[in-house]
């Protein structure tokens, strides 16, 4: 990606946004889960990486501005501020409560409203269509004062039905506001239904182009695409930028996703433990490009991206720590421009300490070193270097290796732990069955030590093994041969996802039983469960609903 960011840390924090938003909404009994979830990545990337801001001094004059014009995304917005450190996440339970600072729609902080507004909220939203104009005022002011602060705006797509949006759309290019960046949360749903049925806004890209904006279109749930778009917007002179972020309303909770019913409806509070479990069950598929036929890496990366891979797993082997040799940092550097997908780089090399800077230079997003290749002192040097570049740090252990004790005091800086389920060195090996219990046990121990990162299963992961490692707690699945030895990469990845989803649904049903809400859950989840009913053994039950 070429950015300074800890990819996995941000990913985990965005998950926290959703969890805290859903807790607040379920507690309040009302609110807008859909809009909060479609914009979670946008707000997360802004607050956790991009904005110049200081949660301990919200009125810092050097801050960038975030104007949330779609005020109904308040639960997600508040959760973002809480996770960013503006107020305790525990206060989310006061959402929409009488006397609460967490009003139904965000309120600009001021002394006179200090009991009804949160420090850090710049703009009182709720009436749609106004925020872009207000942002123009801020951007103009920054130009008058010769300040470099930027203004970021979040617009809903339904919100652009408002005529004032187009007044503002005309105005920003007139004043050449290159310090203004708009995110259009293009989730295609508004209160009454789908945007293109209620009031079509397509061709939305053409409209903004015609209004003289710099237009960038992305998948708004992909952190790396948001970062890339923001980077591009910073290079444009004399024009405002709009990033059309194609999103899914309710993304994160399957039965809410892309369903207009969940625009402004709260889930029953009894369901919230299940929703949280689903959010925590989020996983990633990271195909390893050394697998499969001798085909060039560029082609494999492109294919994996088209097939919906979440990351690219890069197995670096030096012929010393492992027998095989694959590629080194120079190759990664050449591959970098091909994709925005995060590079999940797994160093199977001796003395990683000596070479770590090369992988930092190659713009990897995650760099994982084997505990067998460094001592604590070396690891700390590696840690400091990697983290100082905003890159996620991982450690890996071989099948027979235990986690060394020095790992535990460092868990806060470790975003991922790869637990090898084969002996490293070659692709195409058979999964070692003992790995499952190793993942399960380590996951438990790590959680007890407060580990908030990911466990990554690497080696022999395919449709027959993915369920057990997922169940044991792995949330990143390295898939090599299962993907690239398959003539149809798309269906290989779909198959892996399908298997993992079945496991997730089974776990959720178990939780529903524990909470005595099986029937309610089946009703809410019906359209998700129907295609999985056979594998879950609930066909009769579903048919009776």
């Amino acid at each position: 990606m070429g950015f300074s960011m800890r990819y996995l840390d941000m990913k985990a924090k965005i998950r926290e946004i959703r969890i805290n938003a859903i807790k607040g909404i379920a507690e309040a009994g009302s609110g807008h889960p859909g809009a909060s979830f479609s914009a979670a990545e946008i707000m997360g990337v802004l607050y956790f990486r991009i904005l110049k801001h200081d949660p301990s001094n919200p009125e810092w004059s050097g801050r960038d501005y975030f104007i949330n014009s779609k005020g109904h995304s308040a639960p997600g917005f508040y959760a973002t501020l809480a996770v960013a450190g503006y107020f305790p996440t525990d206060e989310m339970k006061n959402l929409r409560k009488f006397g609460s600072r967490l009003q139904g729609h965000p309120v600009r902080y001021s002394k006179y409203l200090e009991n009804h507004s949160l420090p850090g909220v710049e703009y009182s939203a709720g009436s749609e269509g106004i925020g872009l104009s207000v942002s123009i005022g801020i951007a103009l002011s920054n130009i008058i004062d010769n300040k470099k602060n930027r203004v970021y705006v979040l617009l809903g797509d339904g919100e652009t039905n408002e005529g004032q949006i187009w007044e503002a759309a005309m105005t920003a290019p007139k004043f050449k506001l290159d310090n203004l960046v708009v995110f259009l949360d293009r989730n295609r749903i508004q209160q009454d239904g789908f945007t293109e049925d209620i009031m079509p806004i397509d061709p939305v890209r053409d409209k903004w182009l015609a209004f003289n904006w710099n237009v960038i279109e992305i998948n708004g749930h992909k952190i790396e695409q948001i970062m890339d778009a923001l980077n591009k917007s910073g290079q444009i002179k004399d024009k405002p930028t709009i990033i059309i972020a194609n999103t899914i309303k309710g993304n994160g909770i399957k039965h809410m996703a892309n369903n207009p019913q969940w625009h402004g409806r709260a889930p029953h509070h009894k369901q919230s433990p299940l929703l949280i479990q689903e959010l925590e069950g989020d996983y990633m598929i990271s195909p390893s490009i050394i697998a499969g036929e001798k085909e060039n890496y560029e082609e494999k990366i492109r294919k994996a991206e088209r097939a919906g891979a979440d990351m690219i797993h890069l197995d670096v082997m030096d012929g010393k720590f492992v027998q095989n040799t694959t590629f080194l940092a120079d190759t990664i550097k050449k591959l970098r421009p091909i994709t925005n997908l995060p590079f999940d780089t797994h160093l199977m090399i001796e003395n990683p300490y000596e070479y770590i800077h090369e992988y930092i230079d190659a713009s990897c997003d995650i760099i994982t070193v084997h505990t067998e290749t460094c001592n604590e002192e070396q690891f700390i040097c590696i840690r400091d270097k990697v983290l100082s570049h905003g890159i996620s740090l991982g450690i890996a252990i071989n099948p027979e290796t235990k986690l060394p004790n020095w790992v535990f005091p460092n868990l806060n800086s470790i975003d991922v732990i790869i637990i090898m389920s084969v002996h490293p060195g070659f692709s195409g090996q058979k999964f070692i069955p003992e790995t499952t219990s190793k993942i399960f046990n380590l996951n438990k121990i790590l959680k007890n030590h407060g580990f908030k990162g990911y466990i990554e299963a690497d080696g022999g992961i395919d449709a027959s093994t993915v369920q057990q490692v997922y169940d044991a707690g792995a949330r990143i699945m390295v898939a090599g041969s299962a993907v690239f030895s398959n003539s149809d990469i798309n269906s290989a990845i779909i198959q892996l996802r399908h298997k993992t989803n079945v496991t997730l649904e089974r776990n959720l049903l178990r939780k529903a039983d524990e909470n005595n809400i099986r029937k309610d859950w089946l009703v809410a989840r019906k359209h998700i469960l129907i295609p999985l009913a056979n594998e879950l053994g609930i066909e009769d039950e579903i048919n009776e609903l």
Binding site: V107, R108, S110, Y112, L113, E122, Y123, S124, G126, S127, G129, I130, S133, V134, S135, I136, G137, I138, A139, L140, S141, N142, I144, D145, G163, Q164, E167, A168, M170, T171, F175
Partner: protein, 325 residues
């Protein structure tokens, strides 16, 4: 008070004052909506082009941009015709300016019927009612060019939203430069009197003075109050008038519902119930009248000194006959 009546227009007073203030206070910015020539804010724009923004014919955008400017510490003046701001932009004024209590000064011109030839679409007669019902908003209606200058200078130093209502025609100058300090929340007694009080605002203040002077010739003593600050209103002044003169007539170039008359009535009914006659536009729309015919238009709606006199006399007559207590 001048003995020989001079005329000046409120808009030039506003434009000149703003340009003058802009020299002293670099935080002042001004936004216009394709009416900057007419509103005389162009002068500010010519002097300080970097602090002046013409937003075009987009009033909702205009006031919201002003809000954004105010959010970063500017004193934002937003100006256009009264016809297009308080009604059209009520939502933006309410949510983007008043709720967060931002430092935006909405200075509008062409209020009331005296817009003249443009007709009812341009004759803003509901704005006082609308604006004074929004929390945090302050409503000011200067009565001449001198008070415009003084009031604009005063509000620059008071944080928060203001609505300043100017009239289109060149109008009689009522004040000398230092006649009053024009505090917000105060009113000026321009004639002392004991039989009755006439409370007025804007261009109707001059009519009230004329009426009072005419009545004086017949031995009737009317107190005349220029109630330029409609919100906050000078409660003490109104209560004193009620107590000391017993009867009040209000007159305004505005619908008689919700404006100055209502504000006065609200105070009296709670603090010192007394007879209050509200003169204003009788809940109907205006119509075109050429500049030479403005008096006809005002006459049709009862906004003349003669009408004030008539009401004073008929009120006194009813009192005398015991029909009014």
């Amino acid at each position: 008070m001048n003995s020989s009546v001079k005329f000046a227009d409120m808009r030039s007073a506003y434009g000149n004052t703003l340009a003058e203030l802009g020299m002293i206070n670099k935080n002042i910015v001004c936004v216009g909506a394709d009416t900057t020539d007419s509103l005389k804010t162009k002068k500010f724009g010519d002097k300080f082009p970097e602090r002046f923004f013409n937003i075009g014919i987009a009033e909702a955008n205009l006031v919201s941009i002003a809000a954004g400017l105010a959010m970063t510490g500017k004193i934002a003046f937003a100006s256009t015709y009264a016809a297009f701001l308080p009604g059209r932009c009520l939502d933006q004024i309410r949510n983007a300016i008043c709720y967060p209590d931002l430092n935006v000064k909405l200075v509008v011109s062409h209020a009331g019927l005296t817009v003249g030839p443009d007709g009812a679409s341009h004759q803003q007669i509901e704005d006082i009612a609308i604006m004074r019902s929004i929390p945090n908003m302050k409503v000011i209606t200067p009565s001449d060019a001198v008070s415009v200058t003084r009031l604009i200078k005063n509000i620059v130093d008071i944080p928060g939203p203001f609505y300043i209502r100017l009239a289109r025609p060149s109008s009689e100058i009522l004040y000398e430069e230092n006649d009053s300090d024009f505090k917000i929340g105060k009113g000026n007694i321009l004639r002392e009197g004991s039989d009755m009080t006439i409370i007025s605002c804007g261009l109707m203040v001059y009519k009230s003075l004329q009426a009072a002077d005419n009545l004086k010739k017949n031995g009737i003593s009317c107190r005349v109050i220029d109630c330029y600050s409609i919100k906050p209103i000078d409660r003490d002044l109104v209560i004193a008038a009620a107590k000391e003169t017993g009867y009040i007539i209000t007159i305004e170039e505005h619908n008689y519902i919700g404006g100055l008359g209502s504000a006065v009535t609200e105070i009296c009914s709670e603090e010192y119930p007394c007879y209050v006659k509200r003169l204003g536009i009788k809940d109907i729309f205006g119509e075109s009248a050429r500049d030479s015919e403005l008096n006809l238009l005002l006459e049709k709606h009862g906004l003349t000194e003669k009408e004030i006199e008539r009401h004073v006399l008929s009120t006194l007559y009813r009192i005398k006959n015991g029909n009014l207590s």
